[in-house]
């Protein structure tokens, strides 16, 4: 059974690129349009990895990570931040919140799937 990834980003085109890249690598993908939507979908079903943007309306990526890490079933699930931001201070904030890794946009599909494979096989 293929692993499922939750892709959270308010940009529709970016989500399309994520779905295209991850499905081509054999993963199932659930899309969410912002942190709140991501949290609702993560509660509804369990996913193997979460990939989230930082700057989103409503609930941002860091808040989503904190909320997920507060749930028992997401304490060990890899959560990757995929964002335009690369400032050390916000990376440190992401790490403290419980992010597993930090990917700076734009992403390369091959490198993204390599990292995902490394984390969940």
């Amino acid at each position: 059974m293929s692993k499922t990834i939750l892709a959270v980003d308010d940009s529709g085109s970016l989500r399309q690129m994520l779905v295209f890249s991850l499905k081509a690598a054999g993963y199932g993908v659930i899309e969410a349009v912002d942190g709140r939507d991501g949290l609702a979908k993560a509660k509804k079903q369990t996913v193997d990895l979460v990939l989230t943007d930082q700057n989103m309306p409503g609930m941002d990526g860091l808040s989503l990570i904190r909320a997920l890490r507060g749930m028992k079933k997401y304490q060990k699930v890899p959560i990757l931040m995929l964002t335009t931001e690369s400032d050390d201070a916000i990376k440190a904030e992401g790490r403290a919140a419980g992010a597993t890794g930090w990917l700076v946009k734009p992403f390369d599909p091959d490198r993204l799937t390599e990292v995902v494979q490394q984390l969940i096989g």
């Binding site: 980003d9 940009s11 085109s13 970016l14 690129m17 295209f20 890249s21 700057n55 335009t84 931001e85 690369s86 400032d87 916000i90 990376k91 790490r95 992010a99 597993t100 890794g101 930090w102 990917l103 700076v104 946009k105 734009p106 992403f107 390369d108 599909p109 091959d110 490198r111 993204l112 990292v115 490394q118 984390l119």
Partner: protein, 181 residues
């Protein structure tokens, strides 16, 4: 007291100078940020279009060559190993170009952030003028109540700076770094 009652050199001229300096500083800051974002947006769009055009042309070329190999194998037959090797190379080339296109297509996300920042700064400029406009009537009736107005603009500037979206750092469409913690 009306503004016209003030003598030259009165304290009001110093207050007016503070006000104008404040308006100029805040206005300039907003406009400089917008200019910076426009330059960056131009760079991102140029890089994205360059990457997408190159990927599109290379894809087209690879598909044509792939078709030629298939045609040749159908017409005259080529050695299976030779055909397979050529087709595999072309498949790899197509995958590389599709990956480049996927990276290039992400320009919209960054451009949208830049547009959001610019809209925020233009709103800031509009608020500065709005503040001046609101106070213009009171100014005409009650004379120069400039310190509160100057203070209001300074507060506006501080609020805008504190809540301004962080700038987009990317100037091109090369893929970003990956760091696992």
């Amino acid at each position: 007291m009306n503004a016209g009652d003030l003598a030259p050199g009165d304290n009001a001229s110093g207050q007016a100078a503070d006000l104008f300096a404040g308006v100029a500083a805040h206005g300039n800051w907003h406009l400089n940020e917008v200019t910076r974002d426009l330059v960056q947006m131009d760079a991102l769009l140029t890089a994205a279009i360059g990457k997408l055009t190159s990927a599109f042309l290379s894809l087209h070329d690879a598909v044509e060559r792939q078709q030629a190999v298939l045609d040749q194998s159908l017409r005259a037959g080529c050695a299976a190993a030779e055909c397979n090797e050529t087709l595999q190379q072309l498949r790899d080339e197509i995958e590389r170009q599709v990956a480049a296109a996927v990276t290039g297509l992400q320009f919209q996300d960054m451009v949208s952030q830049l547009v959001g920042r610019m809209a925020g700064h233009l709103t800031g400029v509009r608020e500065i003028f709005g503040t001046l406009d609101t106070h213009a009537t009171a100014f005409a009736i009650h004379g120069p109540a400039l310190p509160p107005l100057t203070e209001r603009l300074a507060q506006h500037g501080a609020t805008v700076i504190a809540h301004a979206p962080r700038p987009v750092v990317q100037h091109g469409m090369e893929h970003g770094d990956i760091e696992l913690f």
